[in-house]
């Protein structure tokens, strides 16, 4: 389809480690339309970040095997060389990194970190790049941008640093912005500001956005679709409404139940998902969630369910014992 900016097809990312092969991403397929925002949710270690970096072609080349296909704006990313990707990073796709404390160079003024990409990628001269960098800083809500242009990252708060990271990512007007847990390292009040900022900028700049998070609350109002990942695979995917209210996969429900809600009475204990995410180097042939799932059967341990369509269009899930669709008109407690 020509309207799809991104088409990911059966993508595998496998690390060769001393402990053996680790299948961090194990056969992921989805697509993303121009100007759409999709959320990718899952626990730590579910392969979200690796997926994001593989889509961007940013994975280190050594000891990593990538199979499948990532068509970004019609061009294949899988197998592209660093040299080829260099021509596409920043202009076609860019990333907002998770931790603004570590993703900015500590010994470089923030202004230079923004304008070097303008100069290198867009060929701007020094003066134009500087003016544009200050403009970008103002756009991401940096107070007294002209003055802050000369600041070092250590002179800024976490929220301000993340604004710098966003300004850098947006510098060359990318078609796709991948935001990898952009608010995890920030205070709750700042989180909302940053997410709203990303939302506004997306509208303003007509970007597509992949918003990666472990917090369903973050994606609830800001995405059109949600992808739920577990152990490197998609286990449920659908329109945001459907995933919240008509989810079929027990893991999705468990994720929803483990996030606190205002409507809960005080001192309600949060439901936690028992056990921990599986070791990706020792995955079995069965459903990876089966060891932690209350409705798991013998079949779940033996045979992995594939993604099956639910009633709603575009809603798919992978489960042998799906939750009944009719019971779920309301979000779980």
């Amino acid at each position: 389809m020509s309207t799809q900016l991104l088409v990911v097809d059966d993508l595998h990312t496998t690390f060769r480690t001393a402990a053996g092969l680790v299948a961090a991403v194990g056969g992921v397929s989805f697509d993303l339309a121009t100007n759409e925002t999709v959320g990718i949710v899952g626990e730590s270690g579910s392969g979200k970040t690796v997926l994001a970096r593989t889509i961007m072609g940013l994975q280190p080349r050594s000891n990593v095997e990538v199979r499948g296909s990532v068509l970004l704006d019609g061009h294949q990313v899988v197998g592209a060389s660093e040299r080829e990707m260099r021509e596409r990073w920043a202009t076609d796709v860019s990333m907002v990194f998770q931790d603004p404390m570590t993703s900015l160079n500590p010994v470089m003024r923030i202004g230079r970190q923004i304008d070097e990409t303008l100069r290198v990628r867009l060929g701007m001269d020094k003066r134009a790049a500087r003016a544009r960098a200050i403009e970008l800083l103002a756009m991401v809500g940096m107070p007294s941008a002209e003055h802050r242009y000369r600041a070092y990252p250590t002179q800024l708060s976490g929220g301000m640093r993340q604004r710098v990271v966003i300004a850098t990512a947006l510098a060359c007007s990318p078609k796709l912005l991948i935001a990898d847990e952009p608010t995890t390292g920030l205070d709750v009040t700042i989180q909302a500001q940053i997410l709203n900022l990303l939302d506004d900028l997306k509208e303003q700049l007509h970007m597509s956005v992949i918003l990666i998070t472990h917090d369903l609350g973050v994606v609830a109002t800001r995405t059109s679709r949600i992808i739920v990942m577990y152990a490197g695979r998609i286990v449920e995917m659908g329109a945001t409404r459907d995933v919240f209210f008509r989810h079929r996969m027990p893991y999705t429900r468990a994720l929803l139940e483990s996030s606190p809600k205002v409507s809960n009475p005080s001192h309600t204990r949060l439901r936690v998902i028992p056990g921990r995410p599986p070791n990706l180097s020792t995955l079995t042939s069965g459903c990876a969630f089966a060891p932690r799932c209350s409705s798991a059967s013998e079949r779940c341990h033996q045979e992995r369910p594939s993604l099956e369509p639910a009633e709603e269009p575009g809603h798919v899930f992978a489960c042998w014992h799906p939750l009944a669709a009719t019971e779920l008109h309301e979000a779980p407690r």
């Binding site: 660093e82 993703s103 900015l104 500590p106 470089m108 990409t117 290198v120 070092y152 002179q155």
Partner: protein
């Protein structure tokens, strides 16, 4: 920043003062009587008393210190009893030779260490990295007096290249070509030791820096590897390198004596050795003072450079 520099400067003055007291006291720790050294063993008590008055040795030690300190601040380090020349002028001719030798050796060392460390760090444990790491470790274990002897043997004697052997030193002012030729082998020898230190320090810091998230972010901005290496990785990786350079260069100020002595280059190290051999205490004292202050100053300068290179240091 200014406060940081002022704080370091105060510390510097304190250290220099301690050094001055130390080297003043040094002469009083030495065995023997200066009158015996100057007048010989058969001197009469009257003559000895006159000499004591001339030298000011009859005054209290505190007063002697202030007189001595005042002279030093006026650039007067005394006159050697042995050579009967001014210690300050001896040092003034010897010191520039060391400065030149150090500058040459450091240019060589950095010019080799920085690009090679970058190449090595790009693929840690790659073929090149293994060769360079093993090679530098081997070099580290060869003392400089072996290196200089081997170099003289091969370059000056076997290859017969003129002006590179022992006793071929001429001053920079009289013939700079011959001067550079005569300093080539010692500069290279001193460079070897420095190179090994710089290469190893920078390599390991670069490897650590290249794994930082901000390097991945720099890649994602579409920057070339070369630019990432020089603009993003080198600066945050060079703090330990600069610290090592400060200590190392300070050490070379007097530590070059082995090559100087072997090749007859009249630098500070050479002069120090001959001074010790001839019991020329004033000369030794003067050199110790100059070298100690030099070491402190060099490290002060490098501390300052580090604070410019890594602005986090003055803030934290």
């Amino acid at each position: 920043m200014l406060r940081y520099v002022l704080r370091r400067l105060t510390l510097l003055i304190g250290i220099v003062w301690v050094i001055s007291v130390g080297s003043f006291y040094l002469i009083h720790l030495l065995p023997g009587d200066p009158a015996t050294v100057i007048l010989g063993t058969g001197a009469s008590p009257a003559n000895r008393a006159i000499l004591y008055r001339q030298l000011g040795l009859n005054k209290p030690i505190i007063e002697q210190y202030f007189v001595w300190m005042g002279n030093i601040l006026h650039g007067n380090l005394g006159t050697s009893f042995i050579s009967e020349t001014s210690v300050a002028s001896t040092i003034r001719t010897a010191l520039p030779i060391d400065v030149e030798l150090i500058v040459l050796s450091q240019i060589l060392a950095f010019a080799a260490a920085i690009p090679l460390a970058m190449r090595s760090a790009r693929k840690p444990n790659g073929v090149l990295d293994r060769i360079l790491s093993a090679g530098s470790f081997t070099l580290l274990s060869i003392p400089s007096f072996i290196i200089i002897v081997l170099l003289v043997l091969v370059v000056s004697i076997k290859l017969g290249i003129a002006n590179t052997g022992p006793s071929s030193y001429v001053s920079l002012g009289s013939d700079w070509v011959v001067n550079l030729e005569s300093l080539a082998l010692p500069a290279f020898t001193l460079a070897v030791g420095s190179f090994v230190i710089y290469f190893r320090v920078l390599r390991s810091d670069l490897i650590a820096t290249l794994q930082e998230e901000f390097i991945t972010m720099a890649r994602s901005k579409g920057l070339r590897q070369r630019r990432i290496m020089w603009r993003h990785a080198f600066r945050p990786s060079s703090v330990a390198l600069l610290g090592a350079a400060g200590v190392n260069i300070g050490g070379l100020l007097a530590g070059g004596f082995v090559v100087e002595y072997l090749l007859g280059i009249p630098g500070l190290g050479y002069t120090l050795i001959t001074g010790i051999a001839s019991s020329d205490y004033l000369l030794v004292q003067g050199i110790v003072l100059v070298v100690s202050v030099g070491v402190v100053l060099i490290n002060f300068v490098f501390d300052f450079i580090i604070s410019v290179v890594d602005p986090r240091i003055t803030r934290e």
